[in-house]
Every structure is written in C-alpha cells, then in structure tokens.
C-alpha cells in the first residue's frame, strides 16, 4: 500500500516547488522595498552621527516638550474614546434597537475622512471668523493653536478604534452571561465589572493599543489645529516635521525613531494578543 519513499507525489492542488519559491521571493522583495527598508532607514538615519547626537536630539528642551505633549494628549484622548467604546458597544451589542446599523456606520465615519478635514472642521468651528470664535475669545478660552484643539482633533481621528474592536466581540458573546448574573441578583454595575469586563478585557486592550498608537502618531489633523508653536503646541510628529524641514535630519530621525519604537512595541503586543487569545479575542477587523 505505502509508496516507496523516494517517489514524491505533488498535491495537484498545490503549486510546483519552484513556483512557490518564486512567489515567496517576489513577495519578500516587495516587502523589503516597501516595509523593511523604510523601517530600517529610520534607525540608520537616526544613528548616522552616533549615539551622542542621537541622545542630544532627544534631551533638547523642545523635543522633551513635544514628547510630554504627545503623552498628555494620548492620556486624555485614549480614556475618553475607551469610555465611548464601552458605552457604544454595550448599547449596540446588548440591545436590539432601531437605527443600529446606521449608528455603526456613523461610528466608522472618521476612518473615511481625511485627517486634514478632521482638523479643518474644528478650525471652522472655533476659528476667529466662526460663530463660536468671538465668544470664546471674549472669555479668554483658547482651543485652536492650543492643547484643547490638539486633543479634540486626536479624539476625532481615533474615535472608532475601541468601539469597532468591542462591538463585534460583544455581539458574538451575546447577552446570556449578563442575563444569568442579573437573574441571580447582581446589580447592573456588578454584572458589568464581574461578568462583561472579564469577557472583553483582551479585545479592550487590543482596541486601546491601536487607539494609543494612532493618538501618539497622528499628524495631519493635529498639524491643522496646532499652529506649530515650538515647545507649546508641538507634538512629536509635528516636531519631526519641523526638524526635517530645517534639514536637521539626524534630530528628525532621532525623534522619529522613538515613534517607530512605539509602533514596533504596538505590533509586538498586538501579535502576542492575537497568538494567545486568537483572532476572536481581538475582533479581527481593522
């Protein structure tokens, strides 16, 4: 019955070995040119003049201020979008109501809007020639070209991340666990804390991770509302732009390398979550 081991049969629903090697080589060549080399070049350019210059570029006061502002903005925008994501996913996944699919479409809206337009809408809303502009000015409230504007623009572009991870996950899980807890006498909050939250924690973490990466790296929307005031309204990506436009390449790539590291850490954590908890725990959509 068994075939002699030296005769190899090829599965007819499979490519020839040579074709496989060629296809893999072609894909890898494409990925090298468009993914790997850009990533490697960030670090090569950053260390072009050695550790000394690299370190100098990162501890310089404007760079430190940019890092601090980026962390501050993410620390405000991510928790707010997390709260929204939880609320929206609870309402959408645990209840049947009219207009639900329209609401899901609206939540996804920021993904299909150019980041520049996301910034522009706030300029039109709060700018000096808008309806609100003069009122805000007379009360001494600064939104545009100040931190609140940057936070708003960041919230806008990172708006869907947590919600769209949680909605399919919680829809899959249904309402059985919650109904059981409630029928056993748990209060609404207890049900949420002890039943729902443990069920969704990895999906939640996944959404927060992606939301945070985008919040710290957002460029277009923030660039429109920030006014680029050094040391005051410059986030890290904007600082990279200014340094680059001044031909201070080593410093630009040094700050950029921090953002690239953030991206690599995000990818690593994301991969670990997907491997350990399966695509199901992590929504599986982007």
């Amino acid at each position: 019955m068994s075939e002699p081991s030296h005769i190899k049969f090829r599965n007819p629903a499979d490519e020839r070995p040579l074709a496989k090697v060629l296809l893999i080589a072609l894909s890898l060549a494409f990925l090298v040119f468009f993914l790997f080399l850009p990533l490697v070049s960030v670090f090569v350019e950053a260390f072009r003049k050695g550790w000394e210059e690299y370190y100098e570029a990162l501890v310089e006061p404007d760079a430190v201020a940019a890092i601090r502002l980026t962390l501050t903005v993410a620390a405000i925008a991510v928790p707010l979008n997390l709260l929204f994501g939880l609320c929206a996913a609870w309402a959408i996944a645990k209840f049947e109501f009219r207009g639900k699919s329209f609401l899901i479409t609206l939540i996804d809206l920021p993904f299909s809007i150019s980041p520049v337009i996301s910034g522009l809408v706030y300029v039109l809303l709060f700018g000096s020639n808008s309806v609100l502009g003069p009122i805000l000015k007379s009360h001494g409230i600064e939104i545009l070209f100040a931190v609140p504007g940057i936070v708003l623009a960041t919230i806008f572009v990172t708006f869907p991340f947590v919600a769209r991870e949680l909605i399919p996950l919680m829809q899959d899980q249904g309402t059985g666990d919650e109904e059981a807890a409630l029928s056993l006498g748990a209060s609404g909050w207890q049900t949420f804390w002890f039943v729902t939250l443990p069920n969704i924690k990895w999906g939640l973490l996944y959404g927060v991770l992606l939301c945070n990466a985008r919040a710290m790296g957002e460029f277009g929307a923030v660039s429109v509302v920030s006014g680029h005031i050094r040391g005051l309204t410059n986030t890290m990506p904007l600082h990279v732009e200014i340094l680059y436009n001044e031909y201070n390449f080593v410093a630009a790539f040094a700050v950029a390398s921090l953002l690239a590291l953030l991206a690599l850490v995000t990818l690593a954590l994301k991969t670990i979550l997907e491997l350990r908890f399966g695509a199901g725990a992590a929504g599986g959509r982007h």
């Binding site: 007819p12 990925l31 929204f84 645990k94 708003l152 890290m236 904007l238 995000t266 695509a279």
Partner: protein
C-alpha cells in the same frame, strides 16, 4: 415578558424589551459624544459650504489648481491601490498557503503601516527613495521622490495592510476541495487559480482595493514629505486644503474639503454595498 413581546409587534418602539440595564445611559452618552466630536463639527463644515452658494462652490471646484490636486490625489491613490491589490494578494497568498522561515514575523510586520505614524513613514520613504537614498540613488537619473511617482510609493506603503488583511482571512477559509476537484477534472494549476480561486476572492479584492483607495485619497502625513508638493504637478488635495487655510482662504479650504468628503461618503457606500453583496453571494465578507 410574554405580553410585552406581543405588544412590541403591535406598536412602534425604539428597542426590544430586555432585562439588561443601562440602555438609556450608554446610548445617551454614545450619541452625545458622537454628536459633539463628529456630527456637529462635520455638519459645521457642510453648513459653511452651503454659505458659499452654488456659484462660490463651483468657482473653487472648477479652479484649475483644485482640479489638478483632485486629479493627482485620485490618480495616485488609484495606481497605488492597483499595485497593492496585486502584491497584497500575493503576500496574503504566501502567508496563508506556504510555510517558510520568518512567516510569523512577516505576518506581524504587514500591519506596520497601521502602527507607524505617517510622518515617520513620510520622512523614511523620502530619505530612501530620494536622489541620495539607498533605492533612489539606484534609479538615478530617473527620480522617484519629489515626483507624482513618490506619492504612489507612499500610498503603496499606507494601503498595503488594507488589502492583505481583507484578502487573507477569505483565502484561509477557501475550500481546498474545490481546487482538488478542478485538478482531478484536468485543470492545470494556473487554470484552477484563475477560474476557481480568483472568482471566490473577487469581493475581498474589491473591498481591499476600495479601502486602500479611500485611505490613499485622504492621506496627508506620509505624502507631503516625498511628493515635492509642486502645484499642478505633485500637490495633493489634502495639501491644497492646508495651503488654503494658511492663506486664510476659508472658502477655498471648505469647498475642497466638502468635495473630498462627498467622494469619501460615496466610497463608504460602495464598500458597504460590496460587502453586503458578497455576504449574500458567498456568505463571507
């Protein structure tokens, strides 16, 4: 429970009855937050455009610089999405079908453009494809960076994961028995792939294309560094919005933004339509 369920069929109600609490609070907060952050600001943009009147709107729309910027944005996004459909499908194919050293790493790295800030990608690509860069110097005197071709390069980078991540799950769920049946009926491998595999992938390919294209049209951060930004030649529509804003030409910025917004809504509609169609036809999306 029973009589309220029958009542729900009788009269209109917002939601089906449920013993789970918190509907009012969570939906209320979601709607309020959605309105404040997204709906009111976007409505403000449309309201400002309406204030321009048809005449003002068309004056901006038919301005040659606006038309060129839109043409460049859509043209480069289209080319990049085509390249991404071809190579993204290839990458999805080797990731889902073949086993080779480093497959896991490559699978994880495909998401890099999602995670890497666009400005970082922009300066890295500009350095790499610029006249003195590793790749750019190789092609000299033919220039890649600071031409429309540079825009395409940046948009290929940005759009790749959209195609791979749309096509890959569908590929993994394909029924191999269909391919084996084709082979036993005498089809060679290429015939099987063209007439069995590709048709099943078509909805995913279209969705991936549309997602990459839509993202490419609005992309700003990665493009401005590599484009050269020469008006009429390599100036994209989002950059034109920024330039109009810097000139305090709010009418110009608003009108260009509205055109782009309308086109992205149409794209969103098309993507939803393709996905609904493929769910009906193939049972996957």
């Amino acid at each position: 429970m029973t009589h309220s369920a029958t009542a729900s069929t009788a009269r209109w109600r917002l939601k089906q009855p449920s013993i789970i609490p918190g509907f009012g609070m969570t939906l209320g907060f979601s709607l309020a937050y959605l309105s404040l952050i997204i709906l009111i600001p976007v409505a403000g943009l449309l309201w400002r455009t309406a204030g321009l009147g048809w005449g003002g709107f068309f004056a901006v729309l038919t301005d040659y610089r606006t038309l060129r910027a839109l043409y460049i944005s859509f043209g480069t996004a289209f080319l990049a999405a085509i390249v991404n459909v071809v190579f993204g499908t290839l990458v999805a194919w080797i990731l889902s079908r073949y086993n080779f050293p480093g497959r896991r790493l490559i699978d994880a790295m495909v998401d890099l453009p999602f995670a890497l800030p666009t400005a970082v990608a922009g300066i890295a690509l500009a350095a790499l494809y610029g006249p003195n860069g590793w790749i750019g110097s190789f092609f000299m005197p033919f220039r890649i960076a600071f031409t429309p071709l540079g825009i395409v390069v940046a948009l290929i980078f940005i759009g790749l994961p959209f195609v791979v991540r749309t096509v890959q799950p569908v590929m993994e769920e394909l029924d191999r028995e269909m391919e084996e049946a084709a082979a036993t009926l005498g089809a060679n491998r290429l015939q099987t792939i063209v007439s069995i595999v590709l048709p099943a992938l078509t909805p995913a390919l279209l969705t991936g294309f549309a997602l990459a294209f839509a993202r490419g049209v609005g992309e700003y951060g990665s493009v401005v560094f590599i484009a050269g930004n020469i008006p009429y030649v390599s100036e994209i529509a989002p950059l034109l919005i920024v330039i109009r804003l810097e000139e305090f030409n709010y009418a110009g910025a608003t009108a260009v933004a509205t055109i782009m917004l309308i086109i992205s809504f149409v794209m969103l509609f098309v993507i939803n339509f393709i996905q609904a169609w493929s769910r009906r036809r193939y049972g996957n999306g």
